[in-house]
Every structure is written in C-alpha cells, then in structure tokens.
Symmetry: D2
Subunit: 363 residues, 4 copies
Amino acid sequence: MSRPRAREAGVRFGDVPIGSKNAITDVEGVKVGHCTLRKGDGKLIQGEGPVRTGVTVILPHGDDLYSRPVKGTYFALNGCGGLTGALQVEEFGKIDSVIGLTNTMGMASVAEGIVKYTLERNPLAGIEHDTVIPVVSECDDSYLNDARGLHVRPEHVFEAIAAAGDNVSEGAVGAGTGMVCYDFKGGIGTSSRKVEVQGEEYSIGIIVLSNHGEREELTIDGVHVGKLLDASNPHRKENGSIVTVIATDAPLDARQLRRIAKRAGMGLALTGSCARNGSGDIMIAFSTANVHDRYPEKRFVLTDNLLVDNEMSALFRATVDCTAEAIVNSLFKGETVRGRDDNTVPGLPIDETLQLLKAHGRL
Amino acid sequence: MSRPRAREAGVRFGDVPIGSKNAITDVEGVKVGHCTLRKGDGKLIQGEGPVRTGVTVILPHGDDLYSRPVKGTYFALNGCGGLTGALQVEEFGKIDSVIGLTNTMGMASVAEGIVKYTLERNPLAGIEHDTVIPVVSECDDSYLNDARGLHVRPEHVFEAIAAAGDNVSEGAVGAGTGMVCYDFKGGIGTSSRKVEVQGEEYSIGIIVLSNHGEREELTIDGVHVGKLLDASNPHRKENGSIVTVIATDAPLDARQLRRIAKRAGMGLALTGSCARNGSGDIMIAFSTANVHDRYPEKRFVLTDNLLVDNEMSALFRATVDCTAEAIVNSLFKGETVRGRDDNTVPGLPIDETLQLLKAHGRL
Amino acid sequence: MSRPRAREAGVRFGDVPIGSKNAITDVEGVKVGHCTLRKGDGKLIQGEGPVRTGVTVILPHGDDLYSRPVKGTYFALNGCGGLTGALQVEEFGKIDSVIGLTNTMGMASVAEGIVKYTLERNPLAGIEHDTVIPVVSECDDSYLNDARGLHVRPEHVFEAIAAAGDNVSEGAVGAGTGMVCYDFKGGIGTSSRKVEVQGEEYSIGIIVLSNHGEREELTIDGVHVGKLLDASNPHRKENGSIVTVIATDAPLDARQLRRIAKRAGMGLALTGSCARNGSGDIMIAFSTANVHDRYPEKRFVLTDNLLVDNEMSALFRATVDCTAEAIVNSLFKGETVRGRDDNTVPGLPIDETLQLLKAHGRL
Amino acid sequence: MSRPRAREAGVRFGDVPIGSKNAITDVEGVKVGHCTLRKGDGKLIQGEGPVRTGVTVILPHGDDLYSRPVKGTYFALNGCGGLTGALQVEEFGKIDSVIGLTNTMGMASVAEGIVKYTLERNPLAGIEHDTVIPVVSECDDSYLNDARGLHVRPEHVFEAIAAAGDNVSEGAVGAGTGMVCYDFKGGIGTSSRKVEVQGEEYSIGIIVLSNHGEREELTIDGVHVGKLLDASNPHRKENGSIVTVIATDAPLDARQLRRIAKRAGMGLALTGSCARNGSGDIMIAFSTANVHDRYPEKRFVLTDNLLVDNEMSALFRATVDCTAEAIVNSLFKGETVRGRDDNTVPGLPIDETLQLLKAHGRL
C-alpha cells in the first residue's frame, strides 16, 4: 500500500496551478536520478554499515553542463552545510556541472564522480580548456547511516546519472535514504508550479533533500500538526539541514534567481522551520533559459532575454508554495526506516495528519 | 472603543513566553518614540497635503549611540528599499546612531535630524572625531500621504526622540501613519519574547513598520484570513515594504545578529508574505550586550562575552514567532485611515477575523 | 600657472590608450558637474565657516535616470562610509538616480536635492509610480571644512547639475574642495581608457573623490614618492576615504560591473593605499549599455547584450590603471588649500615628484 | 646553487619588520606540510603523467582543528575557483579543519583525506557529534601536470600532514609543484610581519599558492620587471589563480579577518595583477587567538578579547606588503619545471631581475 503525495491526499499549498507531474522535471529538460545505498542492519560497524545513504543528481538539461552552463546561483539561509563550487557559481552566475546531493562526508566522492563524468564528455577539459569544479551539496544522515564508513563512492554518481529521468521517486531514496525531517522520515520531495506572467507561462520546479526540524515545529497548511500528533518518535539530538534545488524556464539571470532562492526560505518557514542553528538551509536555483556555450565560437557579446523584475512576484508566490509542498511531499512519501544502531525514524502518520487538517477546517 | 492587540484577542504565536509589555521596549534600555504628522483631507495638493506620515525612532539604549555604539547588523530579504548607513553597519558590525524610520522620501530629513541631534551631544564629532552617518530606513506611504510634499523635516526627529519611552503606540502612528499592510491599515506593531538559554533569560523585542502584501496573502496563525474575509478594501497598485527592527540583550555579535535578522523573514512568511518584488523587506538587528565606548581610553583590546552559536536556536524560534506577532499587532491596532485623494484603507475587521480563526480550530 | 595633469607631466599608468579627454566623460553621454562652496577663513565658527566643501554630480546619461536607469552596482573595499541607495542598487543591479558626491554630513542634503530634482522631472513618481531613492556617497572633509555647519544644501545639487558637462575640473572643486589625499591636497581626479575587445572598442572612465592615505604611503608608478619627498605637510589624525565612480559603455550587467568595481581597489593599491581602517573605500560602477525604461510599455522580457566574462580581463587591466591615474590626477591638480582653523594642506610638490620619478628610471 | 628568497637578494617590501623565519610559521603554532608528486616526462598519457602536482596543508595550531576551531573567514577577490567549506566558514566565522591546497580536480581527494584524518582523531564525529566539512582550495596546474589523471589521492593529505613543520619550502613543492606565476615558475611562497599595536606585538604570516598573471604584468617593488625582462618564456593560454592563506595571532574575529583578507588583494595588485577573468583569487584568513572548544563543557557564553577596529591599519599595511613578498618569494624560489607535453616554465631570471631593480633605483 503506497503512501500518497500530499496533494493526492487533499492537502493544499496555495492557488498557483501545478505542472503535469508536480515535480521539478516539469521544467522542460530537467532530469533527476537516484542511486540508493541500503545495506545491513543493527549495530554500527564502521565501514560495514548499516548503510542508509545515496546520491541524487539533478541534470538541468539534456546537454553537457560543462559545455552548456545554465544561469544559476545559491542562497544560504543558514550556511551550516557544504556546497562545493559555491564561489564560482556566484562569480559567474552560472552552474556548469551536474548538481549532486548526498550525505555530508560523501561530498568528496560525489565531487570526484562528477569530475570524472565531466572529463569523459569533455576531452579538452583540464588540458586546453578549464578544469572542472562540481556543484555538490549535502545533509547529514548519520542518525540512520554509517556516515563514518564513507560508503558513497564516485561510481554512484554514474549510476545516479544513468538512472536519471522524468519520474522523481520521493522519500527514502537516493541522497534522501537516511534523512530525517521534523523527526519523521524525510528525504526527497518535489513539486512544481505553472506561472502565468503577462500571457507567458513559465514553470518552476523544486526538489528538496529534507533533513531538518523538530517534530513540535511541523506545520502543514498552517496547522501545527507536529504538536498535535500523538507520535512517540524519537528526537534527534542535533538538527539536520535542507537543500532546496529550484529549476525554472523563466528567463532569469543569477541576480534574479537569487531573489527566487531567498523565497524558498519563506516556503520552508511555512512548514514550521526556524532554520535551527545546525541546519544548513541551502538553496540552489537555475534557469534553463538563455543557455550559451561555454566557449562560443567567435561571439563575444551574447544575448539574454530577461524577465523584468516588476513581473517577478508571481514567481515568488509560486516558489514559496512549491517549496512547502516539496517538503511535505518528502514527509508523505517517507516510509519508516530503521538504520544505524537500530535508530528508527517513523514515517509521518498520514491518517492522523489528515484528520488533524480536517479538524482545523482544511481538506 | 479601542482595538485589542492580537494576543489580547486570543491569537497565539508559538509557545515562547512574552515580555511584560510584549513590546520591543521589554529589552532593557530600548525606547521608542513617534512623531505623527496628520494634516488635511481630500484631494492632493502637493506640498499641502493630505499629510499622513511621520517619524519613528528606536533608541537602543539610554546613552548616546554615537559614543556608545551597539553591536548591530542588517539583512535585506528584499533590498527594494532604503537604509542609510548600511555599509558602515556591515563593516564594523555596529549601529552608532538612533535608528530612524519614516517614509521613503523623508529619509533625507530624518538623516539630517539624526545628524543634528548627534552633533549637539558630541561636540568633537566632525572636528577631532568621526563624522556622523545615521541609520534610517523607510516604507512608501504615498497611497495615503502627499509623499511628494516632503512633509517630514529634521525637527520631527527631535520630537520623536523627545517622546521616546517604554510604551509603544501601534498602528497608524509615527512612521506608520500612512502605511498599508495586506491592503489593510498597518504601520507600527511590536512584540517581545523571553527566551531561556541554559538557565539564562534573554529578551528579544521586535518592532515593525508594516507596509507590505496583498489581502489575499494575509495569514494569521496559519489561517488564510485574507482570502476568507468578506472585505471590499481597495487594492494598492504596487506593494509596499516592511522594516523590522530586532532588539535583544542576548550577547550576540553582528555575525550572529545577522542570523537572527534572517529568521525575521521566516516570521514574515508566516503572515503570508512572499516578499513581493516591490517590497523592501529589510531587517535591522542589534544587541545591547557588549557595548563599548567608541573611543575607549587607552584600551585597545576589548572583551566580548558571546553566546555560542549552538545555543541560538531558541532565539531563532522566538524571532520567527515574535516577528509574526508584531506584524499582526500592526494590523489589529491599525484603524481605518482616509488620506490622499480620499484613498481609504480600512482597519482589519477584527471580529470577522476572530470568527475565522475560531472556525479553523484556533482561539 | 596651472598645475599639469599627471600624464601631461609624463607620468605613465600602463599601456592601455586613454580617451580623448582622459576623463570619465569620454564614456559617451556621461557628464560631471561641480558646485564648489568656499567661504571664510581662519578660526572655526560652527555654521559660519570656514567653508571648504561642495557637491559633485555624475550623470550617467543625458536622459532622466529615474525613468531610464543604467545597469550598476557598488563594492565596498572598506565600508567605513556612506552610500545611500546601496540596497536597491544591489537588489536590482541598477542605478536610477543622479550620483551625488559630497561631504559626509552633507549626504542628507544632497539626497534631498536629488529627490527634488527627480520629482520635478517625474510627475507620477511618488503617486502612481515608485518613490525616489537617490544614490549619494561621501568623504569627510572636516580637516579643512566646517563640517558641523552643514553648509551643503539641496539647491547645491541643482547648481551642480546645471553646471554638468564634458569638461571635468579636478582637484579642489565640488565635493573635492576640502579633501586630503596622502596628506596632500586631493579631491576630484579623473581618467579614461579605450579598450579593444575582439575588434570592438569600449570606453572606461573613472572619477575619484580622493581623501585617503598617509604621506608615507604615496606611490606613483611604483616609486615611493611619499617617503622620499622632503615635505613638511601636517598629518591628519584620522584617515579619510575614497569614492571611485566607474563608467563604461561596455555591455556589462551588475554582476560583471561588480567585478570591475573590485579591480578599482587594485588601482588604489598601486598608489600606496592599504585601505586604512577609517577609510571608506567605496566603488560605484555603471554601464551605459542595455538601458531600458523603468516602465517599459507592454514589454515584460527585455533584451540585454552582454560581453562574455572570458573577455573581461582587458577591462580589468584598464580599470586598475585608470583608477591609479585618476587618483594621481587629483593630487597633481590639487592646489594648496588653507581652511578650518588655518589647517593647511599643501598641493603635491610636482617638480620634486617628477625628479623622484626620473631618478628612479621613470619619465 | 640554491635560489635566494627575494629579501635575501635585497628586494624590499615596505618597512614593517619580518618574523624570524619570514614565513607563515612565524605565527605561533602554525605549521605547513607539503606532499610533492612528480613523476614521468614528455607526452601526456592521461592517468600516467607527467605528474607535476601535490598537496600543501596549513595547520593553524597544534591541536585538532575540528575540536578546537580557529576564528576564520575568506574573501573571493575573484571567485573563479574552488573553496570547499566556504558556506560554513562564513556562517560561523570559524575554520574547523586542516586547510588543504592542491590542484583543481584534486580537491575531492584532499577533501576526503581531511575527512578521514579528522574522523580518526574524533571518534564521535559523524555519530554523536557533527560531521566533517573540510576547507580545501586550489589552483589549476594543467599546463605542467596531467590534471585529468587525478593523481592526488587522499593518502597524500596524510603525508603532507606528517611532513608539517616550521620550515616552509617554497617554489615548486606541494600544491605548488605545477603552478605558474606571471608565466614564470611560481607555486608556494611565504612571508611574515611583526606588527606593533599600542605596545603589543602581533604576527601576521602569509602563504600563497601562486598560479596567476601574465609576464607583462609582473611588477616587483614598483618596477615593471615583466615588461623589461628579455625573457622568451611561453605564454599560457588561460590565466591561473592564486590562493592566499593569512595567519595571525592578533585577536580578530571573522568580520575583522575578512577586512584583512581584502587587503591581501591589494598586495596582489602590487605585484602587477589585475585579477584576470580566469584567475580564482581567493584569500583565507584565520586568527589563532580566542580559540574555544567546539563543544565547550557547560559553558554557553564564551569570552573573546578582540582588537578594536581603530587599531587595525598597521595590520592592513603589513598584510599588503607581506602578500606581495610571499608572491615574489614564490617566483624567486621557483626553479624551471618541464612538464606535461614538454611544456616548460622557466624560473624567474634572478640576476636580470635584480639588475632591473638596481637600474630603477632599488636595492
């Protein structure tokens, strides 16, 4: 019996219409792939397991990212986390690598995997052309996973990329395998919006790697579900993080994408978070419009068609709502996981949650 | 018949206890003063009125700010607004002036007023000692006010400072006189929290100058009040801003205060905002702890006692909730104002609002 | 007997060719105007004088800036100074006002002057359209000027704008009237470069308001002139600032202009500065390319033609050299000024300086 | 016959006295270790060589960095480069890992090496305590090195740490093995200063990984050596980067260290750089004062003794000069290296350089 997504269960997140898959892949060309690592049970034996981790990759378009970077940026609502490539993303306003997500200490392996993958496709990179600086972010899954065992390896990036497609599995998959959200099982969640701006329709798609918050904080559509649920789930000692990746085909440059990325933090707030101290709340945003070659042939001035800022509010609204929905999806799809030292994180009890929403005038 | 504050009417904003006045002045030493400018009615005659504007000052402590700066910082969730002194605040992590709030094009007058006020108290400033760079921020009240008339003058700063005290009037007073919040009358609102951190009690106090949002967005304690209210209030064409000033006696430096300031944006989100394009959503934060002389006599290494970051989450929680409460207070206390060209902004209908909250399981 | 500009005297600043006027006005459309305030002598009587101050305005193009903003940004190498409008410039990547320079505590007056000037030209501003947030920066001229007297008034902005043209007076004029640079008379200096990028020629023009440094630091074309000069000039107790305004017709957006602005700090370094603590070293940069209407009629996606970053190095080189030349021009053109309390700042002794350069293999 | 350091050859870099070793290790407790990888000659065979690369580690103190972080920060003059851990460094104002330098695509391996090294020393990390986010930066050595071969491996971090000590080899060692500076052989260079501030003596030590610039730009003590040298060295097509690590025992927090880091860019300018587009010019700065435990036992408010900003100018001066000297040291000590595809980068011709300096009134 599969767990429903939040919207399937009737939960509402604002009035902006969703895309056909209600996933980040509703943005034309975006693909997502997971490599899930799950092995062993019981007591922690460092290097052996239990393993509850993985890799998730987001491919902004079907071409090679190194040779065809997208406009991109990031915003750290709370910088208690890792993001390789951050300086270059900010300097040039572009993302020129597959975006990799994994557990904190798996970042090096994923970075190396992306380097190898990129070198394979770009024979001049690192000789005549630029070297490769990948974009990788992370959350800490050590409550369920043998994090010290460094089980993520570079080849898992290749597996995740090979598996990439339009259908985005949610919950305890890929990088989300061992993640915990508001003391329930979280991990991967996604959602999308269709936004009309002066007659043009743009898509926004969001994927989260949710690993943050305390149960008492959890809020769904304004109802303080976390406080009201009669749950006996254990409380993690330290609070994890959330990485939010935002894709859009709206023609925005890095400055404007940073405005979008900041609004994702407002969507996070709607689910109850206060961005606790240890929570690396990092947003990455890119646009698939105005993509140019890294080495454009004999062209030195390139044309960008950019939405005027005055028309961005509808995108902001969509971002806030869509972020909240992606997070709640990660909870709705997150099944109970038992992991390291038998630490167990229960899936959000969906029936009780829906009853609480109903009792508060929702649904 | 006076309008109640939100909490008096039973609205809840989280579980953190409030201070005795539930105002920014619960932070020891902080004072707030208003100078309200209200003159004329009917059709706009530039330079004559109608005038619906004013000045609000926040005094971080009882001493002179220039000679005894407080640790301080700012964060621009959306930088569509003005904040004089921003660069110096960031460079030195201090606020060394009275903080002034007013309408956008009144900033110059308020800045000049603070300069004059500071010069009077510091005879060496601008001769042997540093010149004065004031800290002033703003929202746009031109929907109700003859903004082009530039009615705010430097002397109004002196009046606001003379009126400063512990009791903070809310709603359409001071800088808030002509402000509009979610298409209802907004302006000044305040709230406070007492936070226990490892046996020590710290205060956080927040004051907002609310002038942002569209009615449909307004959310109170998770209930989408704005959509549900049967209100016929007019919709402003462009969306204003919100300035949030956060005071605390928790021993935090500028880096940590910036972390606090970012969380105020999450409280703003709880009231429904998505930080629309034209909304200058600016947070200013200061701590009254670790205050040193500007020119310490023969001391070149000074001691700061600073809270460890690991203990900041309780302050973050308090900031989020307290910001939301201050905003809703600005609405609860905002009485209907008719202003420029008979533009009229209604006060939030409190009874209907409370009924909606009740119908959704609140109160 | 007029003092020569540095290049007229044979001093070299790199190999990039200069524009026809070797001034910021070599960038098509840019104009500069000064209003110089000079009154009284001898002992300081606050409010009476001596007055040694003024206003300098930079007009990025011939149209109204509010209705036709230019791409722009700023960078604070050292944020010990004031820059009104900074948040909005950063948020939107544009400068939408005349740029005003003056003394520190004259900022409010210049801001008000620009507001009034802009309102006159934009009858809908502050009613149907946005209010006005001007861009004003400053240095502290209190060593020579009765700074506490607040002698700069809004009308001086109008005078400076009325006087604006292509010919840029340098030295002790406009905002530079009372400024001190490396303990010599500084103030206004300008320079320009013509940069060829892949067959296209772009102009960069720079104007400085120089008020920074200690004599011992002064370096010209690598020669430590300040240490070697047998000068007996007095040493100011605290170190002033430098504002650098960079104009270009190269098609750059705010992100790229920020890269340019950072390089101006490297040019500052070539003249010997280490950006001392009290020196507000602020760079403002704008491009006259890709100018759009503030309220474009029925167009919501606008086209920018932007230089690729890979081709920016030549502009960086030009910026570094041109900044250094502008600073040295402010010294070469700065005649001795006696001011407040008979404080006297000597002009750089040009003959001795040139002899030192010659003795070190220059000229 | 060993090449002299710049100062041994009589070159001067300002008047601030140097430390006993004129190295970053003059800051008490700081250690530096190299692991140099050099293998093969001639034509590139990817994965085999030629190998001209390595790892350099900077240990801010003798304790474990994870459990005893130092105050730290970074500044990207030009963010065209990689710096893992950047977000966390900025959020908390601390550096809590060994600092690793290597070639661009070796970053992942060095990051993994630091993770492993840290886990070994901290048995609770990644279980009860925080996971590890290392601080690694890089330059691109692909002109001389088989960069695509990914020859740097995690164990090289252990070797570099094992080799760490007070004596800092310069030139083509460690991470500097394959680096190129102003088209001459660069790599590792170091220098230090002793700064007296109001009777207290503080040390500043700097180490650079120099890989930037074009020959024509090279300037030493103000003399345009690069233009004047009769050198026939080849010109790299793209311009590398420079990483500058600044250590001090002056009691500074992250905000103040960022001020220091910015001044290193001014020292870079003195050697002729304009921070070309492709040059990742990254500064990392830390202070060994005010070190606290990561998990202080039952203490929640910690004491920092911090230098007042008003006294920082002497440190700024020292930073500028010291950076320039460290860069020139990397050139003076850089011997000719032949590498990948017989690409050859000559060492700076020292005799000719000194003659040029003498001819321009130096030495």
